[in-house]
Amino acid sequence: MSLLFIVRRSLRQHALSTLIAALSIALGTGLVMAVIGIKAQSVAAFTGGQIGFDAVLGARGSPLQLVLNTVFHLETSPGNIPWAMYQAMRDDPRVELAVPYALGDNYHGFRIVGTTRTLFTEFEYRDGVRFQTQGGGRFFNPARQEAVLGSYTADKLGLKVGDNFNPYHGLVFDESMRHDEQYTVVGVLKPTNSPSDRVIWIPIEGIYRMEGHVLRGSGEDYVAEPGREIPDEHKEVSAVMLKFRNPQIGFLMDATINKQGKAATLAWPIGAVMARLFDKIGWMNQILALVSYIVVVVAAGSILASVYNSINERRREFAILRSLGARRKTVFSVIVLEAASISAMGVVIGFIVYGVIFTAASAIVRAQTGIVLDLLSFHPAFIIAPVCVIILGAVAGVLPAVKAYRTDVAANL
């Protein structure tokens, strides 16, 4: 039997107040870990380079809007650029890969992106890893009205290989904007845990030929006619996704396109563009962190109140322990240990709270961006925060411990 035994007994005797104090600590600890963990993983996912492309070429405007629109499939398109720009990039020996994107349609809110088969045959969304279909599917034939679905999209829409659907005009779902063209699902991609999971890919020609779409690549309106090839000068793209042969190319192109030219915008490097977004909204994270720290401090206060209030009714217990030979510092230690134990219990439950908050937040992030956050991904805060909270709990026990320390033995026996 040790001091821990006395602590355990005491906590059991005051089970309700112990539980309430531990739960408040759990809430605070879970919040702190969730805020830090979600932020760290979000920043890593959005800026960390697991995107596969180095840069995005698009219409003159905000690089951030361009990246959000094409990489993360959020935001609206800043406009289109002529097909010739895509061709120039494709044929530039400094460019390893150029993939055109044409946007403008959706299916029940999931974006339809027109592109080429290059995306499936040459693009590596992660080093050495290309898109793969699952369950016997295949990539689309560019000459047909076929679609390949991201795994999240297929799951949420309940679409599978062989199913047909009609796209809707615009990036926001509007039931009245249904196109007459019917597309057939020919493949569902294996999960990539990236924004690509929540996209519907169709041949870029399909976007051009969609009813009501007007091409302005040449500066004049052009509507594609069935059975007739579309002249290249009329074609346009929303963006060109680029992968350079080496990082220096990015510097050169940035100077050429962004600083000297006025025709287009090169969002490069993609990670830095996104990092600027996180810098801009950093204050929000600071507020969230502040709120979670306040919850922890309030929770520590609840430990203090809980233990402090129990001291009066426990004076006799301390006096008895002292009469049995316990020193003042033993009684002091029991109380501090008790407060630290409540904190430790809270920390353990806090990991559950963290799990719940993280899972909920992760589901929202995935639904909005397709990015999957990893619940079990380690962050130093998962050690530092619990240790700090336990120490804080012990500190909260000091005041009650001093009160117990001063217990007059003879007067309380």
């Binding site: 007994r9 049995l324 030979g325 020193r327 003879a410 026996l413």
Partner: protein
């Protein structure tokens, strides 16, 4: 050399009026190792204060208390705590058992701050006082007599050289009081502990070979 020697011991309290009231003034008192002595005295004569001074719970204003060669009055508070934990067992009138603990745990608490925990010995003591089948019971589920026996077992748990008993049978009826004091005496004898009892109960005092009137011991 006596186990306990008290010399010129004085203790005064400050009254609500602000005057000092002397409660204990013992010029000399001795107790031999293994002996059993009862001090007779009515309520309010300073008996409990005297025992608390010997136990080191209270600090004397002046004088000496020497227990087993160690001068209690010269020790710091933590030193007195250590000496109490290792040398003294205390039976209180109200037993002072901890209600969140079982009978066995109460006895084990008695050895926790002294020479170390010996659960087997604690179990043996409870069996010895007739509570072998009540070890897991909390005090609230024990009769007053049973609680008193747990208190006796706890007082001897740290294998003390000296057991102090303050009105140890004050809460028991006459028949049970006689049984209880016989048990306290026997168990102290078996464990080679000296016993110093204070009581106002004449029936109890009659059981002791050595008795003294506390009024003669204490001049206050």
């Amino acid at each position: 050399m006596p186990l306990l020697t008290v010399a010129n011991l004085e203790k005064a309290y400050c009254s609500p009026e602000g005057t000092q009231t002397r409660v204990v003034d013992v010029p000399h008192f001795e107790l031999e190792a293994g002996s059993q002595t009862a001090l007779k005295g009515s309520s309010g004569t300073g008996k409990t204060t005297f025992l608390n001074l010997i136990a080191g719970i209270l600090h004397a204003d002046s004088g000496q208390i020497v227990i087993d060669g160690e001068e209690m009055t010269g020790l710091s508070e933590s030193g007195r705590d250590s000496l109490r934990a290792s040398h003294i067992g205390y039976i209180f009138q109200t037993f002072n058992l901890l209600h969140g603990y079982t009978a066995l745990e109460n006895v084990v608490l008695g050895m926790m701050f002294g020479k170390g925990v010996d659960v087997e010995f604690a179990q043996h003591l409870l069996e010895r006082v007739g509570l072998g089948d009540r070890m897991g019971y909390p005090p609230s589920q024990l009769s007053v007599g049973q609680q008193q026996r747990v208190a006796v077992a706890r007082a001897i748990a740290n294998r003390p050289r000296l057991v102090l008993a303050d009105e140890p049978t004050g809460n028991l009826d006459y028949h049970r009081a006689n049984e209880a004091i016989a048990l306290v005496r026997a168990i102290c004898h078996e464990n080679n502990a000296a016993l110093l009892t204070v009581s106002h109960d004449v029936g109890i005092l009659e059981q002791f070979e050595e008795t003294a009137d506390f009024a003669h011991v204490n001049r206050a």
